[in-house]
């Protein structure tokens, strides 16, 4: 099977991110947590390739050290939201009736909750730790997945091949898993890759509720958020994590698209 451009570019980008994360576990140019008040807000130079932040910490080191955490948190959150969302969405859309109504009532209730409140609630329940953010954001995003999946299922379940599956004597659950779900892939793929980006960005928003990755450990999200007051005076502070997020997202999208094409046998020869 020939490698297409998208796959190559996407794979390279993600590869770089993973490689960076792996490298950071053994080596970074400086200690990413090392405060150096004499070298505050230094622009990029030979000494500090990406400059330093308001505490004189090396931005490059922090970018590297933050890669792993950022990606892991985003990955876990998306996985949580998608798994929960797809299961409930498919069930609601496929079974319909009262199950659907009850699920949707709860779902809509959850949807109406702002992330901050959910996060504060989660904080109380699970305490302040890294996984709190996964839970909080996962809970915030899962209802959207439920809605989108349910919508698609509503239309897919009317297709004749689902009827055919029932005709064969396949159980409803099997039909859901085998025939309905694969044909809902497209919107789920889009939503989950987009969500990946949202999590990378909003992870920092929650860090001030005690839910984020505990400071001073860097993540791209909290680096970006912290760069805000220096948007004009120390542009590099925001640009570095911003570009990292953008390229990771682009990589994931490209890779996701080509993966989807590959998973979709209809596209194999196109």
């Amino acid at each position: 099977m020939k490698l297409r451009g998208n796959t190559l570019v996407g794979g390279t980008l993600i590869g770089i991110v993973l490689l960076t994360a792996a490298t950071a576990t053994v080596w970074t140019p400086y200690n990413p947590l090392q405060v150096n008040l004499r070298a505050r807000l230094k622009p990029p130079s030979e000494l500090y390739w990406l400059g330093t932040d308001e505490f004189g910490r090396d931005v490059l080191s922090r970018i590297m050290a933050g890669a792993g955490t950022s990606v892991l948190v985003a990955l876990l959150t998306v996985a949580f939201a998608v798994v929960v969302g797809v299961i409930l969405g498919v069930v609601a859309g496929y079974v319909r009736g009262w199950t659907d109504r009850i699920l949707m009532a709860v779902n809509d209730a959850l949807l109406a909750f702002p992330g901050i409140l959910l996060a504060l609630g989660v904080m109380v329940v699970v305490g302040a730790n890294k996984y709190g953010i996964v839970l909080a954001l996962g809970l915030a995003y899962a209802p959207s997945v439920v809605r989108v999946v349910r919508g698609t299922v509503l239309s897919v379940r009317e297709r004749e091949y689902v009827e055919a599956s029932r005709m064969i004597g396949n159980g409803e659950i099997y039909s859901m898993v085998r025939h309905v779900m694969p044909n809902c892939i497209a919107p789920i793929a889009v939503l989950s890759t987009s969500m990946f980006g949202w999590v990378l960005l909003s992870e920092s928003a929650l860090s001030f509720l005690g839910l984020g990755v505990p400071p001073p450990a860097p993540t791209w999200g909290n680096m970006l958020a912290a760069s805000r007051p220096y948007m004009e005076t120390a542009t590099w502070l925001g640009i570095a994590p911003g570009l990292c997020i953008a390229f990771t997202l682009l990589g994931i999208n490209l890779l996701g698209d080509s993966l989807r094409d590959r998973l979709d046998p209809r596209m194999a020869h196109a």
Partner: protein
């Protein structure tokens, strides 16, 4: 149809009740106390208790809940702890700001994103597609505050075309109001374009390979018409669901945007109230957004058969 709508509306009641109950418990469960915040580091314990009693916060929770619910049932959402104003008019006033921005922005976003997605799907894996996908992805990875501030600095400060802070209601001065609201709308539109583009692209790719598209082409329809008339309606369903979601989400939460552009909107009210532990306002806002949410989704569901007539409205 009418009975269906009524039935659906009846189903909003359990949802709202659920929201009411959850919000009520949650806001009281999380640490922090409005009175404490008001009195700050100089709080005198006795005074705290007294003020809490005056606000009705010293009653047992179930009693508070029932009292509150009873008032809500007759349309009284209570008064803000922060500034003593009745919650309902406060919310409605703020909602007019957020609602307008969100509706217009989502409308424009859809107007731009859906055709862009179609175009990308149509030229799948070609340079145009790659450009659109890359653009959408970039937009997805720019935080609202960043983009908003950038636009603010560019158009407000560098070019001086638009005012930097503030808000004027449309009822007061239409032209002025427009100036104040342009940037927030543009920002929000750009932020929402990303995901919508990708959603419509994905759906369109699926539809484009169906036979009726080929058949439409066999009729000699121009590609534009094939895309707009034959692909779009069938590919629109997931995007439509998404629009419903975005609308619902945003109506309750464009706090960041409202902060950057200094707009007195509902999102800021809600977030400020959460941080101030202003229970009545939080409860009211959430009940309100939940209601809006349910209504938006009802409309979304009602419109569903328009795109896929095979799906019956139950």
């Amino acid at each position: 149809m009418l009975s269906y709508v009524l039935r659906r509306l009846a189903f909003t009641i359990p949802t709202l009740l659920l929201v009411a109950m959850a919000v009520f418990t949650l806001v009281r469960l999380i640490p922090g106390d409005p009175v404490q915040l008001m009195l700050g580091d100089a709080a005198d314990p006795a005074q705290v208790t007294e003020m809490r009693r005056a606000l009705g916060l010293e009653e047992p929770l179930p009693v508070q809940f029932v009292l509150w619910l009873g008032k809500v049932a007759v349309g009284d959402l209570g008064k803000s702890i922060s500034n003593g104003l009745p919650v309902l008019p406060l919310m409605i006033e703020r909602f007019q700001v957020s609602g307008l921005i969100v509706l217009v922005a989502v409308f424009f976003a859809a107007l731009l994103a859906v055709p862009a997605g179609l175009l990308a799907a149509w030229r799948q894996n070609q340079p145009l597609d790659l450009a659109i996908v890359a653009g959408a992805t970039m937009l997805l990875s720019i935080p609202t505050f960043w983009l908003g501030l950038l636009l603010l600095l560019l158009f407000g400060l560098k070019l001086g075309w638009l005012p930097v802070v503030g808000y004027v209601p449309f009822s007061e001065n239409f032209g002025q109001a427009l100036l104040y609201i342009v940037l927030p709308i543009v920002t929000l539109t750009m932020v929402e374009i990303g995901v919508m583009t990708r959603m419509s692209r994905a759906a369109a790719i699926d539809v484009l390979r169906l036979d009726y598209v080929t058949h439409a082409r066999a009729k000699g329809l121009p590609e534009r018409r094939v895309l707009m008339r034959h692909v779009l309606p069938n590919a629109f369903a997931p995007t439509w669901t998404l629009i419903g979601l975005i609308l619902g989400h945003l109506l309750g939460g464009i706090a960041v945007l409202e902060t950057v552009f200094t707009l007195p909107g509902l999102g800021r009210l809600l977030v400020d109230s959460i941080f101030a532990r202003d229970y009545p306002v939080v409860q009211g806002c959430l009940l309100f957004t939940a209601l809006i949410y349910v209504l938006v989704n009802l409309v979304v569901d009602l419109c569903y058969p328009l795109f896929d007539p095979r799906v019956q409205a139950e």
